[in-house]
Each structure stands twice: as C-alpha cells, then as structure tokens.
C-alpha cells in the first residue's frame, strides 16, 4: 500500500519549502488515501488481522473455507454489518447510537405484524420497517441536534423507550404464523447468493459513496470534526445532523427487518446488546469515537473480523464465552490504537 508517513511538522517550518508543488497529476487513489490517512491505517491493520485469521482458520479447520460456511458467515454478519454502517455515520459526527438494538427489534416486530395482521407483502412490510426506524432516528436526531442532549443520553432514552414499545405492542410474545415469503430478505437467494448479502453490499456501497463523494457526506465529517467550524462555515448543522440520525434509523429499520426475516418471526427480545457489536465493528474498522473519522470499508472489515472470530471459535470448539473475551480484547486494542494515534497528531499541532 502506498502509505508514506506525512512530513513531520515538528521539524523547523522551513523544511516545507522544498516540498513538491501542492498538486500534480497525482493518482486519485493516493489523494483519497491521504484524506483519510488515519482511518486507512486502522483499516489496514484490521484487514491484516482479518486476513491472518482467515488463513489460520483455513488451516485449522477444513470446514472454514467452504462456500457454505462463507455464505453462512456473510448472512450472519449481514444484519450487524447493515446496522454498523448506520452506527458508523453517527459515530463520525461524534455521536453514538445506543438505541440500535431496540429500534431494530421494534422495526422487525412491526414489519412482522403488518404482514400477519394486515396482509402486507414482504416488500411493503420492509418499507414500513424502514419508516419505523427512520421515525425513531428522527426522534434521536431532534433530541441531539434540536434539544442538544448528548447523543449518549438521547439514544439511551430511545433504547429504553423503544424496547418498552416493542413489549407493549407484542405483549412480550413473539410474532409468529408468518407466510414463507417473509423469509425472503433473511434466507432467500438471488442467483445463488444469499439475499441478505446482496442487501448488505448495496447498503455499504451506497453509504460509502455518499460519505466520500457527496456534499452531505462531507458535512458529516465536518460536523464530527469541529461542530463550531461547520456552523461558522454556514452549514445547516441542525438539519444535517438530524438527517444523519434519520438515515441511520432507516438503516437500522432495514436491518431489523432482515433479522426478523431470518428467524421468520418478530422477536421482542431481538437485538439486546447489539449496539455493542456494531460499535465494536465501527471502532475496530477505524471510526473514531472522537468524531471526524471512519469509513464504511473499515466498518465492514470490523464486522467480519468479529463474525470470523465467532465462527472460528465454533468450528474449533472453543468455549462460547471465550469469544466474548476475544472480542473484548480486540475492542481494547482498537480504541487504544485510536487514542494513541490522536495523541500523536495533537502533539504535532
């Protein structure tokens, strides 16, 4: 990878004099890498860890590197990956969304109910689930951007309220007796590829493109990097920040629908602790809890790293509780690395 260290700025400033002209016909990949250098470093590290792990598991277990097992990992990771994409956008704005598990459950349950009781098709139900997620996201966004609650608190409230709503709606009983077609998103296939993987790919590619190429994406990074600077630059911070939470909520709704579809039912207990997995995926992939940094590619790598650790543990017969410990260690390492990087950058400024 063409990843040179940037010139050190604690050298006397005159050292910059002889440096190449500000812009040449430098290849665009390099330019893009430069822009997100810090994220790229974490991404590279996480990707290396993932590759090493995949190679090691391929030798350790004959069942690992099979199409069935890989599709299995892909489908299992799909929900976490979709919701981790949502979480990444929020984290880049220096926010956090603790409500993803509750909102996913709410969306999945509502999606199941409209199919069972109102005869909606699975597609119509998906739209409803996305709308439910977006509505929860709108509430989060108004609380954060409008009422100026810290994101942690705003979404902690939604985590509790959302879960409560799920139990009220369902009477704490799962929503069953769904038609076979309900399984399409979670267990269906398209040209031999699990539908869930296709959805995840579409979500991830669109989100990555939006973040890196659109003005809205630029504002997402700008707000997370320096909210005051964004405001003074004339960016409509309140509107844009709310939009981030709405968009994230919509993706969480979609993820919740895929999750319900996988088990062909709406489960009121779904997604408890899910926020930890998706935050971990984002952070391992280079998203910074201090805002301003994070990329979808990294988040996907993070999500798959966690999934492969879990899958590998199962194949190798490692006690299930050790998986949690391993994931915990990875999170510590990732956040430590993030802070170390930040401190070094600040020491330069």
């Amino acid at each position: 990878m063409p990843m040179r260290r940037p010139p050190r700025s604690d050298r006397p400033d005159t050292a910059a004099t002889g440096i190449e002209p500000a812009l040449g016909t430098r290849d665009r990949l390099h330019a893009r890498l430069q822009e997100h250098l810090a994220s790229a470093v974490s991404e590279f590290t996480a990707a290396t860890a993932l590759v090493v792990l995949v190679i090691a598991l391929s030798f350790a277990s004959p069942n690992f590197l099979t199409a069935d097992n890989l599709f299995n990992i892909g489908s299992q990771t799909a929900v976490i990956a979709i919701i981790a994409v949502a979480q990444t956008m929020v984290i880049i704005t220096k926010g956090i969304d603790l409500s993803v598990g509750s909102v996913a459950a709410l969306a999945g349950v509502v999606g199941a109910i409209v199919v069972r009781d109102l005869g909606f098709s699975v597609w119509e139900a998906t739209v409803v689930a996305i709308a439910v997620g977006a509505a929860a996201g709108l509430a989060n966004g108004l609380l954060v951007a409008g009422a100026r609650l810290p994101p942690f608190i705003a979404t902690l409230g939604m985590m509790s309220a959302g879960r409560g709503l799920v139990f009220i709606i369902t009477g704490a009983v799962g929503v069953y007796s769904l038609p076979e077609s309900f399984q399409l998103l979670g267990n269906g296939q398209i040209a031999g590829i699990p539908f869930a993987i296709v959805i995840t790919a579409i979500v991830a590619v669109s989100a990555a493109f939006m973040l890196s190429q659109s003005r809205f994406g630029q504002y997402v990074y700008a707000m997370g990097s320096n909210m005051e600077a964004a405001r003074r630059s004339g960016i409509a911070v309140r509107r844009n920040l709310t939009a981030v939470y709405v968009l994230a909520g919509a993706l969480v709704g979609l993820g919740g629908m895929v999750a319900a579809s996988r088990v062909n039912s709406g489960q009121p207990n779904y997604g408890i602790g899910l926020e930890l997995d998706v935050i971990a995926a984002a952070v391992i992939g280079g998203a910074s809890l201090f805002g301003g940094q994070g990329r979808i590619a990294g988040t996907l790598i993070g999500a798959f790293l966690i999934a492969v650790v879990r899958n590998g543990s199962v194949l190798l017969g490692i006690n299930i509780h050790y998986q949690q410990v391993i994931v915990g260690l990875i999170i510590w390492a990732a956040v430590y690395f993030d802070q170390y990087r930040r401190r070094r950058l600040e020491a330069r400024g």
Binding site: P6, P7, S9, D10, P12, D13, T14, A16, T17, I19, E20, P21, A22, L23, R26, R28, H30, A31, R32, Q34, E35, H36, L37, A38, Q213, S214, R215, F216, Q218, Y221, A222, G224, S225, N226, E228, A229, A230, R232, S233, G234, I235, G291, G292, Q293, L345, R348, G349
Partner: protein, 264 residues
Amino acid sequence: MSTVEGADPPVLEARGIVKRFGHVEALRGADFAVHRGEVVALIGDNGAGKSTLIKVLSGAQPHDEGEILIGGRPERFSSPVDARRAGVETVYQDLAVADDLSVAANLYLGREIMLGGLGGLLGLLDKRAMRRGAAEALEQLGVRIPRVTTPIAMLSGGQRQSVAVARAVIWATSVVILDEPTAALGVVQTQRVLEVVDRARDAGMSVVLVSHNMPQVLEIADRVEVMRLGRRTARFRAADATTDDLVAAMTGALVTEPEDADLR
C-alpha cells in the same frame, strides 16, 4: 495617496457602535474604518473592546446602537453568514477549521463545488475542481503545504494558521478580519502568516488585524486604530508612529483623532 475626500467610501465602516452586556457597556460609541487595499491594525489594552467590536463587525454578535456600512451602504448582520455574504471574512483565534478534513475540503467548506449535471443534482462533489482551485489559490498566496489532500491535523501550527487566513482571503470580497492571527506562533511561522496578509493587500484586499504585538503592528499595518474603554481614542499612520505612541494611546496618555485626509 491623495484621493479626494469622500470619493471613495471605506469598504468597512463602523459608526457609533454601542454594545451592552446587561449593565456593562463594552462598546460606547465605537468608530472604525478600513479602506480598500489597506491593512488596519486594531489595538487596545485587554477589555478595551477590540474583541467585542470584531464580533460585531463579523456578525457574531448584534450591536445595540450605531451602524455598519459596507462600501458606504448600511448593513445589518444577524449572523456570521450575513457578514460573509457582504464580503467580510473573519479568522477567529480558535481558527475553526475541521481537523479531519483535507486542506482543500476546508478551503471550500460550506461553499463546495458540485459536479455538473446529474451528479450535481445527486449532491456529488467535484473534488478534482476543488483540489485544483485550492492548490492554485494557495500558490497565489504563497502558502506552502505538502498537499491539498493532507488533513489539517497533520499540519504545523503555522501552516494551519496560514490555511485559515488563506481561506478567509480567498472568499472575502472586501474585508478580512484577523483576530490575533500570530499569537500562538513562532517567529518563522509568524512571518509566513504576515506574508499572506501582505499578498492579500497587494491583491487589493482590506485587512483588519487585531494584535498585541506593537512592533509587528507597525511593520505590517498601514494604519493603526487604538481603542480604549469601548471607544476609538487614537488613529495613526503606521509610518509616523512609534511603539511609545501606541502604548501612550492605549493607556490614555495620548488622544489623537486626526482628519481622515491626513491619514491617507
């Protein structure tokens, strides 16, 4: 210069500005003026009202009485966005750059160049055009940075300050206000920033410079306006003034309000 008095109104003028915070009058009828292509230093002791005046001029705080004129036309700023629309750009002490964004992205923040056609309708950025524009603008202002794609966080303090100043100079159509632009910088870095100010003036831009550094003020400014107790109490041509004069004016030992014509 021997322009006829009145033929060329100041690009930015404040008349009798009053600003109260509760019972405290921070500005008590403050006047201020800067003409085209002129660097005016605004100095005064702590609490003299410099910062408040700057905030009023940059739209960050509304004033209670008095008027602001841009090119002779009265304007009312209710936000920094209004001031920017009127051509007044401000670099605050805390810089307000987005550290994680590239130099190019910061220069165009809030004023992005969009792709033409369908891409533009989809809200897509023309990053290439912005990189090119940023590189050209920085080149013209003599700001040296490794690459326009470098995140601001990776620059030195002087480079960051230069980029912030450049950003203001690029977008300002009439006046750039710099609040203590070199307070935190070393000698070499300070020179770099002052060079940018020089080039901006050469390009016909007007610059308002708030500073505590008297030798620097006399070196870079064309004129000096001194504030004391919420009012302008003295004006000098930098070429005629000494550090002692400035200090005397700041402490109230000297009061001088010469005619406009004598200053130009």
